[in-house]
Symmetry: C2
Subunit: 148 residues, 2 copies
């Protein structure tokens, strides 16, 4: 069990962000101490780490993440008896399928971008080669002393 300051260190999120995520319903309200301080479980910290990563690295908005989190909770709350209707589950499966396609699309685009970066690097290296002679000339000039 962790207090909010511990969680900031573990997740990289600020206290304000943690409270904000709770406020907008992105995460469920954690338990409280007798003195009304938030206490986060290991599980909750893990979830927050993933949220932070999905935001920073994958560039997801909090809105998008809310969609995803509510899906996640729906599946987790399959407390057997109070299950979802077959129709709802099919809907969830479709949503997940779309998300997966989206990710795959993004990965493809990322790789294309990477290719471009590599091409730019090649160009830079070519220029480097061309300038090399000039550069060596300068280094040589810098190395001698002009004592008039």
């Amino acid at each position: 069990m962790y207090l909010i300051d511990d969680v900031t260190k573990m997740t990289g999120l600020t206290k304000r962000a943690l409270r904000y995520y709770e406020e907008i319903g992105l995460i469920l309200p954690p338990q409280r101490t007798k003195g009304n301080a938030r206490i986060y479980s290991e599980e909750e910290v893990k979830e927050l780490k993933k949220v932070a990563e999905a935001k920073e690295v994958l560039g997801f908005s909090l809105q998008e993440l809310q969609q995803f989190m509510s899906l996640k909770r729906m599946i987790e709350e399959r407390s057997e008896q109070q299950g979802l209707s077959a129709k709802e589950i099919t809907k969830i499966e479709n949503l997940l399928e779309n998300q997966i396609k989206m990710i795959e699309f993004k990965v493809v685009k990322m790789q294309a971008f990477k290719t471009e970066l590599k091409e730019m690097r090649e160009s830079a290296m070519e220029i480097h080669e061309k300038t090399k002679t000039k550069g060596e000339m300068k280094e040589w000039k810098d190395s001698i002393q002009i004592t008039d």
Copy 2:
């Protein structure tokens, strides 16, 4: 050569966004007609498409993109004679190297996320299997007429 309204259709960006990108120096100011209307070249439209994609798909901020664009321009402006110093080029190469690493990192994270989504889908499908009997029962119930 395209007017601004054409460009919105080709890039998915709004007119406001196009002017804004120019305002903050993300793109170079395009030429103007005699009547002061912006005219974009094929090249510029291509660049704008990439910018839009990098923003939407890769989740880059305009600030990040500015860094990248200025790098790109530095390399493009290797007008041979007025070249960059070897030191500057090495710096550029390092920056590009870092960007490439970043992308690779993001791709790895994306794939991890995709795996999670797939696991969720599996869970959903399992629930689906379990509920199936119940569902068929319901369908059967729905299909009969209760005529008391």
